[in-house]
Symmetry: C2
Subunit: 325 residues, 2 copies
Amino acid sequence: MIKVGILGYGNLGRGVEAAIKMNGDMELCAVYTRRDPDSVTLATEDVPVKSTADLDSGKEDIDVLIICGGSATDLPEMTPKYAAMYNVIDSFDTHANIPVHFANVDKAAKSAGKVGVISCGWDPGMFSLNRLYASAVLPNGKDYTFWGKGVSQGHSDAVRRIDGVVDCRQYTIPVPAALDRVRNGENPELTTREKHTRECFVVAEDGADLARIENEIKTMPNYFSDYDTTVHFISAEEMKRDHSGLPHGGSVIYSGETSDGTNHVIEYSLKLDSNPEFTGSVIVAYARAVARLNAEGKAGAMTVFDIAPAYLSAKSAEELRAHCL
Amino acid sequence: MIKVGILGYGNLGRGVEAAIKMNGDMELCAVYTRRDPDSVTLATEDVPVKSTADLDSGKEDIDVLIICGGSATDLPEMTPKYAAMYNVIDSFDTHANIPVHFANVDKAAKSAGKVGVISCGWDPGMFSLNRLYASAVLPNGKDYTFWGKGVSQGHSDAVRRIDGVVDCRQYTIPVPAALDRVRNGENPELTTREKHTRECFVVAEDGADLARIENEIKTMPNYFSDYDTTVHFISAEEMKRDHSGLPHGGSVIYSGETSDGTNHVIEYSLKLDSNPEFTGSVIVAYARAVARLNAEGKAGAMTVFDIAPAYLSAKSAEELRAHCL
């Protein structure tokens, strides 16, 4: 059994917990939280909730620590810190800072003889793999990533910070005409606005100025101003009834030539009922790889690019060749 | 530069040749043929055509030998033979015999300190990878593979062997209703007949009994009797005009749950203008990996499951993290 610890029990931590239950060779040994452990109730029975302070001894009996923190401030500090004591894995997704984060985790993990996998999930993660495989097979080509239809938690949070907004769920939606052009191998140049639209379902305070809220959303720099955005005001009951899930998905589409006029289109797409449960499932498969790689004596930072696929599966090499090849 | 030799100059050999031109770090050094070398003209200038006998010295100056032979009789003999002298890669696709072929290549390659990759292409190959990744991420799920729309050379050849048939092109076509059910996450049980239909374009001899030919096709065991097959008789001119390409493609669709009622659908699909050029492109990317792995001191048989994705790309690890992750 591979002994797993989860650090952080938000949406992603619960997604990882659900994923561990699907894997007979993985055992959840503890959940570590910055909150009062007594205030946290797990979905899994008989697993202790501990304080993050308990990790500081470096002596917790776990093969891998899955760090479920935010990329903005948690992971840049946590992942290198714990990589100096445990095998770790995170879902760091602040793209511009990946080189620094990788270097920090690599240094800590190498010194400690541990493995640290960063930026694991579906994007970065499974989508990245598909960008790499496709571009390696067809070097003369171009990749496109579309996200959605799905809930963007970052955009939902940004709307919630507007004065007069009680709650928001923001859906990112690929533009069908853009998808069609890419799937047809046209290799179009597409602007941000041409690729995705945004749709917001907003619960406003009683008596709030809805026109002002709608305008503030649509003109918000970085988040909405470069997109065509639709805003719907709904009741708290409608929000709960119709928008309580966290579905997501998207497509990586790669189009490339092997000779003049001979084109190929590769598409990888996901339709996910639960973004955190799927992300947690990817992380758990890579946690298996982390434990195995470290058991083989490997150390340092890695990404999904550095890990042979067979390490992810509970099946033996013989079984994989017989049933998947 | 990675020095590549191609053994066999049929459709696949020419596809590999086209792929090498797309990769600036790969150099085609020689094509080896069982035919009279003087009878073979390459699409690439200034590359020698040699006899397969020249390989027997074990001293040809190549980093990887790409073996473009048939799975029925060529590869079981050739790949172990040359793995004892060179790094090799093949596209062996007789599924039931993979364990034996793997063992034979492994023994020869290990003794020689060489790497031998078998069963590389898109199925087995890229489709296998997607079955593995999906089943590792979602162990509680089910995979479906659909092929086409595309030309099956095996089925085309089978029809050509019928008395009175001059030429045939056979298209394998997925059944849209089956695709829809799988994409909807229904996890249906599908019979062979429910998954694919077959469509044959046949040029018959003058005065041949078309009804007999059609009946022989539709009732042919293994190839057609389990499918709904449509037969069209066309002229040799129509064959040349409308069916001279070798397009193919298909989808691996995987549907699995992470908790009760929470389902996810992963789909990988290919639309290929040229089956041999795409297969050749996959093999060339893995030939890069073969050369690199052997340069690191690795030896023995491997499949796509055993090779970390970064080995396939001409880009550095830093570039990959910056641009693909």
